[in-house]
């Protein structure tokens, strides 16, 4: 990977982070109408996305440890 590509990737990442932060704070401008209490907290969808993603990955690692399956098992 050359220097230009690395710089482009860094800029894209910074842009994505800024976009994410801006979106998470868009709740200030929105007049949200939560149907259930769970979605009422500020920036709920942003932090839910973050933590649900991490939870998925952690649970998948745990499942890998508990229920490993070999290719030959399929036969």
């Amino acid at each position: 990977m050359n220097a230009d590509t690395a710089q482009l990737r860094f800029r894209l990442l910074v842009g994505l982070i800024l976009f994410c932060v801006a979106l998470a704070n868009a709740d200030i401008l929105l007049n949200r109408h939560p149907h259930i209490p769970a979605e009422a907290p500020y920036g709920f969808y942003a932090w839910f996305g973050l933590f649900a993603c991490l939870a998925c990955i952690v649970l998948a690692h745990i499942a890998c440890l508990l229920l490993p399956r070999k290719e030959a098992d399929d036969d």
Binding site: L13, L23, Y45, C56, A60, C64, L67, R69, D75
Partner: protein
């Protein structure tokens, strides 16, 4: 045109594919039938007016081979559109047996959704199972044969349960009409289980991930369209609002995600996500409000196209590279730029990105759960949405958009134009529904007023998606993704692949050793008896040796005395 059962044209076209044809031009007939039969069948169902019904009496039962209402019309249209897309995708294939199986399978599924009674439904239901197994076997590998047999067992078992439920309903009510029912009615639990097996209810779902990825690249596309969506239709008609379906659907929505996150074969990953999407629909049917039922129908409609599209894309990759394993794929956009666009559309649709069909349908289900104040259900569905983005959306797209282009001797080229047209039709539906959702909403079985494109919907969905993407990038950069090494997880097929055979071996082994011991003991007893008999009857034995006349006379006298005593005292 009501005298012609829907789907029959396609079944007949499937049979015509098997005609022994000699000339080169005539041998192309199956390919053209693959395109023409769904089109003609579509024209036929468009002539059927809403509310049309045809009844017949069969063995004293009132059957209804045709019932056209909003629900059957929606599914009829859906199956035809999907068959046209799959037909275009499969057009270049020259294996007429696959064309025959695909057409008959699609025709049977179409016939089933227009069935107004359980007996007609049963006949088409079994026909879908019997015809589709040939698509699994078409791969011709040892694994596909074994998977196909297991698949057939589940499909036939599902049909048998459906028949049992129908007969119980007939004996109780005198009717085999296929309408909404409740579990307290005799036969209804059998119907639910029969539908559930085909729908992939937990513990009965393993045929899905077992058989579908073993089929051919085109066969997997056909298989992904009909079987499970027919089951969703049956649940939607038979058990709307059955609350038991909510926990069942939640397990279906969440559980396959962990398999999808880990599996290496991307076609298997997509099949796991097909299962997870079915979970959303089952939950919505369980909620049972008009919005939820519309959500289930809309999600089935959109889901068919984006799942089929992803499987088409991966089928193209598999045909070209001989593999669809994530560990072997990267940077495919450099070699297959057009296919990469279809991949992006499929990935965006399944991830519910705004302006793609997944967003238009999933929003209905989540809104229905929220409006019904099912907080935990809603949170778990949202969690499942995140898992879907991670497992299918990001992973399949990664194979095209991340990493270096494959350094392979195989020449990678875009598929033929007609194949791309098939992908284009599926992609077109994904975008069309996403941009103009009201086109789909108008077809839904219940009236509703739903505003999809509100600022709140768009912003919250983008919040969710972008933060998932950010978390994924962070975890990937840290090298902590669970699928960084090829792996797989045991599923509930462990019970019948490992536990039961082992139990039979252990229990059977113990029983066999006892049986052998018992036989040994019996043999010893018989040898002992034989030895005693031989001893008594040989030349020196009591009964074998020659007795003297005096001994004989003595015995005769003893017997005469005994007789005299008996005669005296007995009388």
């Amino acid at each position: 045109m009501t005298s012609l059962p829907p789907g029959l044209l396609m079944i007949l076209a499937g049979l015509a594919c098997l005609l022994p044809l000699k000339s080169k031009r005539a041998r192309q007939l199956p390919q053209w039938l693959l395109l023409l039969a769904p089109l003609l069948s579509l024209l036929h169902i468009l002539t059927l007016p809403l509310g049309a019904e045809v009844t017949r009496t069969f063995l004293g039962m009132q059957t209804m081979p045709l019932r056209v209402d909003a629900l059957s019309r929606l599914w009829g249209l859906l199956f035809h559109f999907a068959a046209i897309a799959a037909g275009l995708f499969s057009f270049t294939l020259t294996d007429r047996r696959q064309h025959a199986a695909a057409l008959a399978y699609a025709g049977a599924a179409i016939g089933a959704v227009y069935a107004g009674d359980l007996l007609t439904l049963f006949l088409y239901w079994e026909l879908t199972g019997v015809t589709s197994v040939f698509l699994v076997w078409a791969a011709g590998t040892r694994r596909s044969v074994a998977s196909g047999l297991r698949y057939l067992l589940f499909q036939v078992g599902s049909g048998v349960l459906l028949l049992a439920g129908a007969l119980m309903q007939f004996s109780d009510t005198g009717s085999i009409a296929f309408n909404a029912t409740v579990l307290t009615i005799p036969g209804a639990p059998f119907l639910l289980l029969g539908f559930g097996i085909k729908c992939g209810f937990p513990l009965f779902h393993t045929w899905l991930q077992d058989a579908y990825p073993e089929s051919t690249p085109t066969g997997t596309v056909w298989l992904s369209i009909f079987t499970t969506k027919l089951a969703i239709y049956a649940l939607l008609r038979g058990f709307p609002g059955e609350s038991l379906l909510i926990p069942i659907g939640l397990v279906m929505a969440v559980y396959p995600l962990f398999h999808a996150l880990i599996a290496d074969d991307l076609r298997r990953v997509v099949i796991y996500n097909l299962h997870n999407q079915l979970g959303f629909m089952v939950v919505a049917i369980g909620i049972g409000t008009p919005l939820a039922l519309n959500g289930a129908a809309a999600h089935a409609f959109g889901g068919i196209f984006y799942i089929a599209l992803l499987l088409m894309v991966l089928g193209v990759v598999r045909q070209q590279l001989g593999t669809s394993r994530a560990s072997a794929l990267s940077g495919l956009i450099a070699r297959l730029p057009r296919t990469a666009i279809y991949c992006a559309i499929g990935a965006a649709s399944i991830s519910a990105v705004p302006l793609f069909c997944g967003f238009a349908s999933k929003a209905l289900i989540l809104s229905a759960a929220a409006e019904a104040h099912l907080e935990r259900t809603w949170i778990l569905l949202l969690f499942a949405s995140v898992g879907t983005v991670l497992s299918s959306g990001v992973r399949v797209a990664s194979a095209f958009y991340l990493g270096e282009a494959p350094d392979t001797a195989a020449v990678l080229e875009e598929p033929p134009r007609v194949t791309r047209l098939g992908m284009g039709v599926a992609a077109g539906f994904c975008v069309l529904i996403g941009v103009f959702p009201f086109l789909l909403y108008r077809l839904l079985p219940f009236e509703m007023h739903y505003r999809l494109f509100t600022l709140e919907h768009l912003v919250t969905q983008l919040q969710l998606l972008t933060w998932v993407l950010l978390a994924y990038i962070a975890v990937r950069a840290a090298g902590l993704l669970p699928h960084s090494r090829p792996a797989a997880l045991w599923d509930t097929d462990w019970f019948y692949r490992c536990a039961f055979p082992e139990a039979i071996r252990v229990i059977g082994g113990a029983a066999w050793s006892r049986w052998v011991r018992a036989l040994g003991a019996l043999r010893r007893v018989m040898l002992f008896v034989a030895e005693r008999v031989r001893t008594l009857h040989d030349a020196e034995g009591v009964f074998g040796r020659t007795w003297t006349t005096g001994t004989m006379v003595l015995f005769a006298a003893i017997f005469l005395c005994l007789y005299l005593l008996v005669y005296t005292f007995w009388s």
